[in-house]
Structures are given as C-alpha cells and as structure tokens.
Symmetry: C2
Subunit: 266 residues, 2 copies
C-alpha cells in the first residue's frame, strides 16, 4: 500500500494557453487523475466502491500554482490521503518540476455517498485502514466552505454537453474551472504567474442541464483591511493582485452548483 | 532522424466520455501532439520555422477510430511524414493498443505559410530532406477537400474563449472537434463504436471571434446509391449508420472557418 502516489505527466499542447503556460483546468485534471489512480491502488476506487453502492464525491478543492510549466515539460504529480475531518476525507497534492522545485500544491475534501439513497456516509469506515500522512500537510489551510455573495454580475450560461460529461456521468470537476476561465477576461489569466483557486462543488450538473454563471471582482481582503482585521487570510505566498468570486446556479431551480474564488499574482 | 515517431499515452479521465470511451477530440489531441513533437525532432518544428517567419498550418485531417479505449489504457501513437501533394505536406498516423491491434488511423495535410505575408509557400524546401515513407500509407484516401453543402441547420454559436486558444494563438484544431461533438445529440456519440471524421480547416478562429455552427444528417451515400454509382466511397471499413455534415462560419463575414463530415458505425 503506497502512502504516497507519484505519477509523471508530460505537459501537452492541450494543457497550455496561448502563452505556453499550464491552464488552471489542466492543474485540476492532473489532481483528479492521480486521486483516482491512488484510490484504486488503495482498494477504494470507483469500481470497488460501486460494488457496495458507494461513491466518492469531490466536495471542495484548493489549488495553488506557483509556476506555470510549458509544453513538453515533464512534471511529477504526487498525492496522499490526510485522514478525515467530520464527513470529509481529505487528500493532499503537490507537483514537482524537473528542477526539483515544488510548483503546485493542493487539498481536496471528498464525501462518501450512498448512491442509492443519495446520502452521505461516514468515510471513516473506508479510511481507517489508510495511511493518514499527518506529517505531510501540502498547505496550512484549504478545502474551506466559501461564503455566498449577494451581488455577482451575470456572465452568461453553459449547457452541459457531451464534452463536459465525464465517466461519472456529470460535468467533470475540471470543466467547472474551464467555465470559470472562459467568463473571465482572457488577459487576466494570460498575465497571471501564480494563482490560488478555491472551489466548492455544491450540486452535480447532469447532461443537458443549463447553469447561469456569475462573477465579481472583490476588494483585495487578503492585503489585510480593517474589515478583516484579526481574520487569518487564506494561505497565498505571493502578492494577490486580483481577487474574483464566481458562482454557478441551476437555471431552473436557482440552486447553487458551485462557488469559487480565484486569487491571482502577477 | 527518426522516419517514424512513436509515443506512448495513457488514456486519462479527460479523454473519455460517460461511457468510458475515448472522445473524438482526444484522438485529434493525440495526433496533433505527436505531429508537433516529430516535426521538432526533424528540425521543422514551430520554433525553428518561426525563426524564418514560417509556420505549419493544419489544413485537412482524416481520422478513423475502430475501437475506443478506456481510462487507464496505454496506447502507442505513431506518426510519419508521407511526402507532398502540390502545396500540402502529408503526415500519417496510427494508434496501436496493448493487444497489438491497430485501433486508429489518420492522415493530415499541412500548408507551409509565410507568417508575415500570410502566403502559402512550397513545402518541398523543407520536406525534400525528410523521409517520405512511401511504403506506409495509413489509409488509402484522406485529407480531401469537402464540398460546401447548401442546406444545413443552424446549431448555435461559439465564441473563442481562453480555453479554446492554443499556443499558436488561435482556436486549437481539436477544439473544432469539441464544438462539433457538442452540437450533436450526445446519444449519437455515446452509441458510436467506430467513426471516421474528415475536416477541412478553412480559416483560423482568433480570440473572441464568434462562429455560427451548422449541421445536417446526410443520406448514407457510402452505401452506394444510384446517385453516387461509380464514385469511390470514402475508406470506411465498417458499416456506416450515421453520416453528418458540419460547417462553422465567422458570424460577421460569413466566411467558412471549417467544414467536416462524420461517419458513425454502431
């Protein structure tokens, strides 16, 4: 049983933007891929769980990218379980480049659900035999609940199409990030050298469902305003130059399907 | 100098659809990736050409997929130049699975352009020293010019966003295939076991440009109707059950940006 899962990836043409730098959604792709492969190796993968009518649902994710690799670079993506917090199973990540530098880190929180009753289960029944890696926190915070913001600007809609739907039958978690990318002014991402993304996945999006998208630039609270005095700002070891909030809502019910925050550094 | 370029890929979560089968756009991704890497190895890659104000432009592509691999499969993607045809440099492809079976084949036609004068150049100046692999045709036809069809049905629009734009600064060739996927009824692709896609790239799509999309189911001419008696049908070594035509047009100028045909087999 490998306490830490390691996989090498080559950054491909489809992973980089016009400036030849890894896109945020590809970072999410790498993390989901190694999480799935490690879970399988630990005996708690998709197929094994489905035999007991259970499934992992990604609920929260925090990613940090410090340097954006380019086409052809080989990177090492690592992941490891980090125990549980109440109903969440925690999984951490990092990426090490060819120079030995850590260029990305992440933390995810997963719910274990009964797929017939659509009810969350205590994950401890599955995780108690797994390594907890308590001495290896990828980041000091992460996978937090995000606050609903009242006044976001409408930024169009997306309808879940063939390309958005993954092997789990709903919109893939990295596709939410693509939708966020594509409602931002492209120049913001093109000029960003470092970023932190926090996202809460609140309701799955099924084929052909339409989501209204919302965004808003926020005042840079991380710089430490009076309003936030005393609060610990999110772990962002770079100067935050842009801070954006996002939300996606099911267009029929108004139910929130995701909330996200993006912190950019030049 | 390698006459034939070989690269292994693992099929990732983002490469498969809800039925765990390789998506058409991921097939195009693999082919573009190996073409780029082989061109670089042969000394005629993107960076080398740009130093002389030249670039390769993908003009036509034919792909055939006979079996759609699933998440975690390791496949070997191969590519080789196949000489020139008038202004086109031809490049062939295939994919071999872990059982040694050929599961995909392809052929592409590239234009060499002067990026300042935006004029096509004779590719022979670059290709005359390359291997021509005349004994290795991937398929007996392919990379043909497609006919404009007068009566297609409107199928929405797409505006080129951050995620659509690649390192060449325009909508990536595999993204055109995603746009095609997503205007088809998803059940068609989900039920398709084999397909042939022919596409002509007629004009690049730049950031923020909006394209109107058009589609139409065609009568199955490949089965050999009287109308087409005597014509040689396209190479499709499976029974064609669905035949669709597509076009994308720049919404302002009406200029065609691509034309495509999809042949499906159950």
């Amino acid at each position: 049983m490998k306490a830490l899962w390691t996989e090498q990836f080559t950054v491909r043409t489809w992973d980089v933007d016009r400036n030849n730098r890894l896109s945020p959604s590809s970072l999410f792709n790498y993390f989901q891929e190694v999480a799935g492969n490690h879970a399988t190796e630990l005996g708690v993968g998709k197929d094994a769980l489905l035999r007991g009518n259970q499934a992992w649902i990604l609920s929260r994710m925090t990613t940090l990218l410090y340097r954006r690799p380019g086409w052809g670079e080989t990177i090492t993506v690592r992941t490891w379980p980090r125990g549980t917090e109440k109903l969440f199973a925690i999984r951490d990540y990092d990426i090490i480049d060819g120079f030995g530098s850590t260029i990305a880190q992440g933390r995810s929180a997963w719910l274990l659900v009964d797929v017939e009753k659509l009810r969350p289960l205590r994950p401890q029944s599955l995780t108690e035999n797994l390594p907890t890696n308590t001495d290896m926190p990828a980041i000091p915070d992460g996978a937090q609940a995000l606050t609903a913001l009242p006044e976001l600007q409408a930024a169009g809609t997306r309808t879940a199409a063939y390309s958005d739907i993954d092997y789990n039958g709903h919109v893939n978690n990295a596709r939410y990030i693509e939708w966020i990318q594509d409602i931002l002014d492209a120049s913001i991402l093109e000029q960003t050298n470092h970023f932190r993304i926090d996202i809460n996945y609140l309701a799955e999006i099924r084929p052909q469902e339409t989501i209204s998208l919302w965004k808003e630039p926020l005042p840079n609270q991380d710089a430490g305003t009076e309003e936030h005095a005393g609060e610990r700002p999110p772990f962002t070891p770079f100067e935050v130059t842009e801070l954006w909030a996002f939300e996606g809502k099911h267009i029929d019910s108004g139910q929130s399907s995701f909330r996200a925050e993006l912190r950019c550094g030049a």
